[in-house]
């Protein structure tokens, strides 16, 4: 029996063993388990994620285009995968003489592809005879049921789509990245790590397009009126009927008309409405909510959720489903959750209902239901992120089964000399699902006192505000993930990783994903020489094709052939412009490297920049002004000679000189002013 990870193997072995005590064995430090179930001896062994990868037949990194690819053991293609060699060897040895093969990897496109390659290449073409376990939680009950109801075959259409994805990603990623690095290397003679890919290129393009809008934004002045009224000693903000006025005179006319006068309530509108509970979590929604409340990046949420899944606390998190089928037995889960003191009364409230009907969303996933708690309580204290995420998932699960909230919104129109102002109130009348989802609710009530038509209202404040239109906001990792989801690029399993790659490549930085000069230049160069690479339509089309393969409406070979036809002219064009592209990429990389060394402006000369410089004579580092090279400024500051020093784009609040971040191994980073005699350091002396 082949599992995806060692921790899953252990859990499955324990669940299936008749005594719950499988025998742990090890060969070459690769663990596997011997377990007995219904008279059968089962060997449960884990992979270490993917053990095989798609690699080009031509291994010389300076050669492109390459269109012939093969599955090869990862240890032969990737330097950091050497450890996987012994895993392949152990699995190969264990598989010899086995009478039956069972695939128990995650039931999704990656899990199926990973299992297929191991069965085919490590176990000797056993993919066709292998049976399949399908489960969405790692609870003993579900694992045993899944073992008793094994599928006769592994899911070949899904595997075809997975294999196709791996081939396309390799074909695009390897060829395009090679084209870029070869171009830069031929120009500068140096190797630069530059990459792009089928999904990475369009994702970076979203960010670049947004950055362009922000950086070319010209604010337009407008005027608004800030008003508040006082009712029974309470102050409420009211809004003027026109949110934006094009001239100050227009705004002042309104103020003059209202000053010293009382307004009259001319209209009152009260609306009561029901707000349905939220829908169950799919991975994207969980990532968005975790970012919103805990500021966890999508990748972090995904990793924490994975750990909760491996502890059997929640169901499989890589799902796009918003459904909770009756088969999960929600009542039993609530009964188990009631054992946790903080959920006891909430769970009992739901259990007192005759029928439990979830408020489901539209999205479906044929492989797994939405994310839900299994009801199993943590056997040991959870870490902070796990505890928070589990709590969010449990509360969301309970909320989806509860009643709609009843809310009331009111709009009171106050009129003065023909000018209208609106006073808004909002109130929760019946909390419904909100009781279960606290503290993950943001709504705040504005409760208005009793009012009646014709009532006079005194203005507390009426002032003109000078305002400007604002640029669009930058994406954050969560909103970028949502954009990728909406545009249909990447998969639930890969999106967070692609965003991470943009950060590690240095194309993007900061919590508000802001594009670096390198990211901007790379995208501009790609757009100029091979627009197809950053085109969203192409990527989206490929994603659709892969979905069709999964639904058996398209063939893998046809999709790969189509992609090859589209990629070939792109690479020819890149080769044609290799020299100019190489020059531009090299300059962009040099500029980016320089940027990383710039700490801030020099206050002494006013025109130079303070940069981290390494002395050719002593090899020591210090901060120097770029004005030195022009003979204009001699400012320099010492730097610590150990640890890492990084610019922080922040100026000292006391003296105004730039600040830097210094960190040594195992210690917290320390941000301080570059000036050794800055008064801010007085306390440390």
């Amino acid at each position: 029996m082949l599992c995806e990870k060692p921790s899953t193997a252990e859990r499955i072995a324990k669940a299936l063993d008749e005594n719950g005590k499988p025998q742990k064995k090890e060969t070459d430090r690769v663990p596997y388990y011997e377990t007995f179930r219904v008279g059968k001896r089962l060997i449960v062994v884990a992979a270490l994620g993917h053990l095989y990868t798609v690699a080009p037949k031509v291994t010389d990194r300076n050669v492109y285009p390459v269109f012939e690819f093969d599955w090869v053991p990862r240890y032969t293609a990737e330097r950091d995968a050497r450890d996987t060699k012994k895993w392949v060897e152990v699995i190969t040895n264990l598989s010899k003489g086995a009478q039956e093969y069972i695939l128990a990897t995650d039931y999704d496109i990656e899990g199926a592809t990973l299992g297929y390659t191991i069965l085919k290449y490590a176990c000797g073409e056993k993919d066709k005879e292998a049976k399949r376990m399908k489960f969405s939680t790692l609870t003993t009950e579900e694992l045993r049921k899944s073992y008793d109801e094994l599928f006769e075959h592994i899911e070949f259409p899904t595997i075809e789509a997975g294999v196709c994805r791996h081939f396309l990603d390799a074909m695009y990623g390897i060829n395009l990245s090679r084209a870029m690095t070869v171009a830069a290397k031929q120009y500068s003679g140096k190797y630069l790590t530059l990459s792009t890919g089928r999904v990475q290129g369009p994702t970076l393009k979203f960010l670049v397009d947004r950055e362009k809008k922000i950086n070319t934004f010209v604010p337009i002045p407008f005027w608004a009126i800030k008003t508040s009224v006082e009712i029974n000693g309470q102050v409420f903000e009211v809004e003027y009927e026109k949110a934006k006025m094009q001239s100050r005179e227009e705004a002042e006319a309104v103020i003059n008309a209202c000053l010293g006068k009382k307004g009259k309530i001319s209209k009152m509108e009260v609306k009561k409405f029901h707000q349905n509970p939220p829908v169950p979590f799919d991975l994207g929604a969980l990532q968005a909510e975790a970012y919103s409340f805990f500021k966890y990046t999508p990748r972090r949420t995904s990793d924490v959720a994975e750990r909760l899944y491996l502890e059997a606390l929640i169901s499989y998190p890589r799902t796009s489903s918003q459904k909770l089928p009756p088969t999960i037995n929600s009542r039993a889960i609530l009964e188990l959750l009631a054992n946790e003191p903080k959920y006891t009364s909430l769970a009992h409230q739901l259990l007192s209902e005759k029928k439990l009907v979830p408020n489901e969303g539209k999205r479906e996933d044929s492989a797994h239901p939405s994310i839900y708690p299994t009801g199993i309580l943590p056997s040991k204290a959870l870490g902070d992120p796990e505890r928070k995420l589990w709590d969010l998932i449990v509360r969301r699960f309970m909320a989806v089964f509860s009643k709609p909230a009843l809310k009331q919104s009111s709009k009171v129109t106050i009129t003065v000399d023909g000018y209208s102002f609106f006073l808004h109130g909002k109130q929760v009348l019946e909390e419904g699902w909100m009781v279960f989802y606290k503290p993950f609710i943001r709504a705040e009530d504005v409760i208005l006192p009793p009012l009646e038509k014709g009532q006079e209202i005194a203005f507390k404040e009426v002032v003109v505000e000078d305002k400007f239109t604002k640029p669009p906001v930058r994406y954050n990792p969560s909103s970028l993930l949502k954009k990728m989801e909406d545009e249909g690029i990447g998969t639930k399993a890969t999106r967070a990783g692609i965003i991470d790659t943009l950060y590690t490549r240095g194309y993007v930085g900061g919590e508000r994903a802001s594009i670096s000069e390198l990211g901007l230049d790379v995208t501009n160069i790609l757009e100029r020489y091979c627009p197809e690479v950053v085109s969203i339509s192409f990527t989206r089309e490929m994603e659709k094709n892969m979905e069709e393969i999964q639904n058996e409406k398209e063939k893998k070979d046809v999709v790969i052939a189509k992609a090859t036809i589209r990629l070939e002219p792109v690479l020819t064009e890149m080769k044609k412009h290799q020299e100019t592209m190489g020059q531009e990429l090299t300059e962009a990389a040099k500029k980016a490297q320089m940027q990383q060394r710039v700490v801030g402006s020099c206050l002494q000369c006013g025109t130079g920049k303070l940069v981290i410089v390494y002395s050719r004579r002593t090899g020591k580092r210090f901060l120097g002004c770029t004005g030195f090279f022009k003979g204009q400024c001699k400012v320099s500051f010492p730097l610590p000679q150990t640890g890492t020093v990084k610019p922080v784009s922040k100026d000292c609040g006391v003296c105004g000189w730039p600040m830097i971040q210094y960190q040594t191994k195992g210690k917290r980073p320390w941000v301080f002013c570059v000036r050794p005699d800055c008064p801010s350091k007085e306390a440390r002396r």
Binding site: N215, T216, V218, Q246, S247
Partner: protein, 82 residues
Amino acid sequence: MQCEICGRKSEGNFCELHKAAYDNLLKNYEAWKKSMKVSWKEYLTHIKVNEFSGLWVKEVAQHLLASDSSKQQGVQKAELDK
């Protein structure tokens, strides 16, 4: 040619990015003139320090202010006349 501001490749005085910022500056001057009654130079000065102005817009404004004023007024007038 090279962009006068950032040194990137360009076909005119500015690269594609600073040209887009410059075009936006020209396009929005009318709105500023109407509501704030400012001259081109005053407009650029406001834009240079406004917290919502884009970085490239600020760089263009700074560049135009620093370069020969009569020349830039001429450029601006010619652009507006179009």
